[in-house]
């Protein structure tokens, strides 16, 4: 009997029963097309519109703010704002309860609606971000500010939408400081200028009596350090944007140049040249103590801190040609990063900490490129006759730089313009400025 049972058991065991598993499909690719988004004009009631029209000289401020948002999203290259003519729903109704079928019909995947009111001499803007396919609201925020700040409201809305849909912080509520240029090439007038990242609200910070170069923001965007001439000697300056007070940084016996703030804003790092030898120095802004970082007979310049402040990248010709190097913030462990053909300069550490942007000169062409912080993965994003000085957007996705055109022997045909390009290398755009411009520097986000 036991044998019989054993036999049965054996047969039972020998019939394999395969367990049914859930089918899994791995999706490892997608498209990188810009996301179709509908930016409905912000609705505004008649009385608010009347008051704001008198105040801001704009016929419909709701529509103007939505234009700012639309333009920002478009320039990012990640969104495709849809044509307003195709919208089927009116802004005031869309803001309360959008008919998702209507928005899906025009292929929108996201929708922005909003409402503007004028209360107690304040501008109140509320906006909602809708996921059209999921038919639900994914974000709703309201801002109250002085009416003059209406452009910033548009930028802040874009930042919030951008962050919610891409997963990284935006860069729209920011400013750019640059050198505004006018006049013939031989006798250029150069002034420090500041503007919103979209080219509006330009203000000039210097009169143009002295030559100015390489302005850089501090982390709070209140101070600017730049190069100007003092007693015919290039010196690093410090300027308070709010008060307009400027001062020379340190009392160096030679020329100082290529200044930049440390990530905490407490130090300025710069090059100091004497007797043809240039080395990197830092100066503490609180106690004015100067510290020498490099000590090498070659030319060491263009220092830039890593976002954590632990490392410094710079360029040096210690190998015989100008290349990019990295070292610890105290000057130890110097390591060469760039090994490609050509000359490398103006290294700038990304705010994300993962990349270093640079200018490269090879066979008479200038390139703007990026490499990883260990020197690997070099990618050249753009090539031109003359371009340099990349500066990162605060989220580390876009670079702004300047490009000069070739001039004839009389200096005609010369121009200098600001351009931006994102890390994909495809979204290259001219940045609107009132005059010729060079040496741009991107601020961090004004509102966090």
């Amino acid at each position: 009997m036991i044998r019989y049972l054993n036999f049965l058991l054996a047969i039972f065991i020998l019939i394999p029963i395969k367990a049914i598993a859930l089918i899994e499909v791995d999706i490892t690719r997608g498209n990188l097309n810009p996301l179709p988004i509908a930016v409905s004009p912000l609705s505004i009631d008649n009385e608010s519109n009347k008051n704001l029209k008198n105040l801001l000289k704009k016929t419909n401020i709701g529509s103007e703010i939505s234009k700012i948002v639309e333009n920002n999203l478009k320039t990012s290259g990640l969104f495709n704002p849809l044509n307003k003519d195709a919208f089927l729903q009116k802004p005031d109704i869309a803001h309360l309860k959008p008919r998702f079928e209507d928005w899906a019909l025009i292929k929108a995947q996201a929708l922005i609606t909003g409402k503007v009111t004028y209360q107690d001499q304040k501008l109140r803007v509320e906006f909602r971000l809708w996921d059209v396919l999921a038919a639900k609201e994914i974000m709703a925020l309201a801002f109250t500010t002085v009416p003059a700040n209406w452009r910033r409201v548009g930028h802040i809305i874009t930042d919030k939408v951008y962050e919610r849909l891409t997963g990284e912080k935006g860069y729209f509520d920011t400013r750019i400081i640059y050198v505004a240029e006018k006049g013939p090439k031989i006798k250029r007038i150069k002034k420090l200028a500041i503007m919103d990242q979209d080219g509006f609200n330009t203000k000039y910070l210097t009169l143009g009596n002295e030559l100015v170069l390489t302005p850089r923001f501090n982390p709070t965007n209140q101070m600017v350090t730049y190069l100007s001439y003092f007693r015919n000697l290039p010196r690093v300056y410090l300027l308070d944007i709010e008060t307009g007070i400027q001062e020379v940084v340190g009392d160096f016996p030679g020329m100082t140049f290529a200044p930049r703030f440390s990530p905490n804003g407490k130090k300025i790092i710069m090059s100091f040249a004497i007797d043809g030898n240039s080395d990197i120095y830092t100066m503490d802004l609180e106690n004015r103590i100067v510290e020498r970082i490099t000590n090498h007979p070659s030319i060491d310049t263009s220092p830039s801190y890593s976002p954590d402040g632990k490392y410094i990248c710079f360029n040096s010709d210690r190998s015989g040609f100008q290349q990019i190097y990295v070292m610890k913030s105290n000057g130890s462990n110097v390591k060469r990063l760039s090994f490609g053909k050509g000359l490398y300069g103006t290294p700038v550490w990304s705010p994300r900490g993962d990349l270093i942007a640079f200018t490269k000169l090879h066979k008479g062409k200038f390139y703007i490129g990026v490499m990883r912080t260990d020197g690997s993965g070099e990618r050249l994003l753009t090539e031109n006759y003359y371009q340099e000085a990349p500066s990162w957007s605060p989220n580390g996705r876009v670079l702004i730089f300047y490009r000069e055109t070739k001039s004839d022997s009389e200096g005609k045909g010369f121009s200098a313009r600001l351009w931006s390009i994102d890390l994909t290398g495809y979204n290259e755009r001219l940045v609107k400025t009132e005059s010729d411009a060079s040496d741009p520097s991107w601020s961090s986000l004004l509102s966090n």
Partner: protein, 270 residues
């Protein structure tokens, strides 16, 4: 007693082996091969014959005649008859059988057709006309497009090698290709983080989604994982945009529950 222990341990051993072989999660994962490009094989023989019909008819008729001649000549070669005569005179029954065989072959249309078909295909090379070929290709394209539009599913030829479990490579590739087109990857995600979103779907037979569930839902709202929410939402949008999913036309029970693993790392790193 010892014998029983040996038998018992023997059975236990067999049990472990069988379990190890039959349970899917213990099976070794196949070697990571490069993605297979799905190629749809279309039987074009019937279609290619059509435009040649008027000319081919004449040829076929000629061939038929030739075939008939061939058959008769093969079956009754005069030399053989001569040889047979002195060696052995066949019996009357055998003679009748031979005649019958010949008649049978003459009247057998199937066999004739086969031969004619083969020859007609061979003759195609002589009748080569690039315009006609181009027209054929276009036509076949249109027809396949119509089929895919109508069904929006995998064709039967692709479905032929459906196993008892899982999706075939062509089925999987069809589904992947569809979702690749719908998934807009959020470009701002940190590529050095875990960018895998697993979504379990419950599907209708036509491929529309009844229910979608994010398997690591807890991650959606955990601190420092804001990017995960963005990624998960983009994956859900892709599924909604792709509806109805390009699922096989057969075997609903196999794929009514489906898990999609969205991984953006490869794209963002690349």
């Amino acid at each position: 007693m010892i014998r029983n222990i040996i038998i018992s341990s023997g059975f236990h051993f067999i049990l472990i082996i069988i379990t190890a072989l039959s349970l899917p999660f213990l099976v070794r994962k196949p070697i990571d091969l490069p993605p297979i490009i799905s190629v749809e094989l279309i039987q074009i023989t019937d279609k290619t014959n059509i435009p040649f019909a008027p000319k081919a008819k004449k040829i076929i008729d000629e061939i038929k005649k030739k075939e008939k001649e061939k058959i008769t000549s093969e079956q009754a070669p005069p030399k053989k008859v001569k040889k047979e005569k002195p060696d052995a005179v066949p019996l009357p029954d055998e003679k009748i059988e031979k005649v019958k065989k010949i008649e049978e072959k003459k009247q057998n249309p199937e066999k004739l057709d086969e031969k004619i078909k083969q020859i007609s295909e061979f003759e195609k090379k002589e009748l080569f006309d690039p315009n006609n070929i181009a027209a054929l290709i276009d036509k076949s394209k249109e027809e396949t497009a119509e089929i895919s539009k109508k069904t929006n599913k995998i064709t039967q030829s692709q479905d032929r090698n459906v196993g008892a479990f899982g999706l075939t490579l062509s089925e999987e590739d069809a589904l992947k290709a569809q979702i690749f087109g719908c998934w807009s990857i959020p470009l701002g995600l940190p590529y050095n983080k875990n960018l895998l979103v697993r979504i379990k779907l419950q599907l209708k037979p036509d491929g529309t989604v009844i229910k979608s569930e994010i398997l690591d839902h807890a991650r959606m709202n955990s601190p420092g994982q804001g990017f995960y929410k963005v990624l998960a939402e983009s994956a859900l949008r892709a599924i909604k945009l792709c509806q109805p999913l390009r699922v096989p036309s057969k075997g609903y029970e196999r794929w009514k529950d489906l898990q999609l693993n969205f991984d953006a790392r490869e794209m963002l790193e690349g």
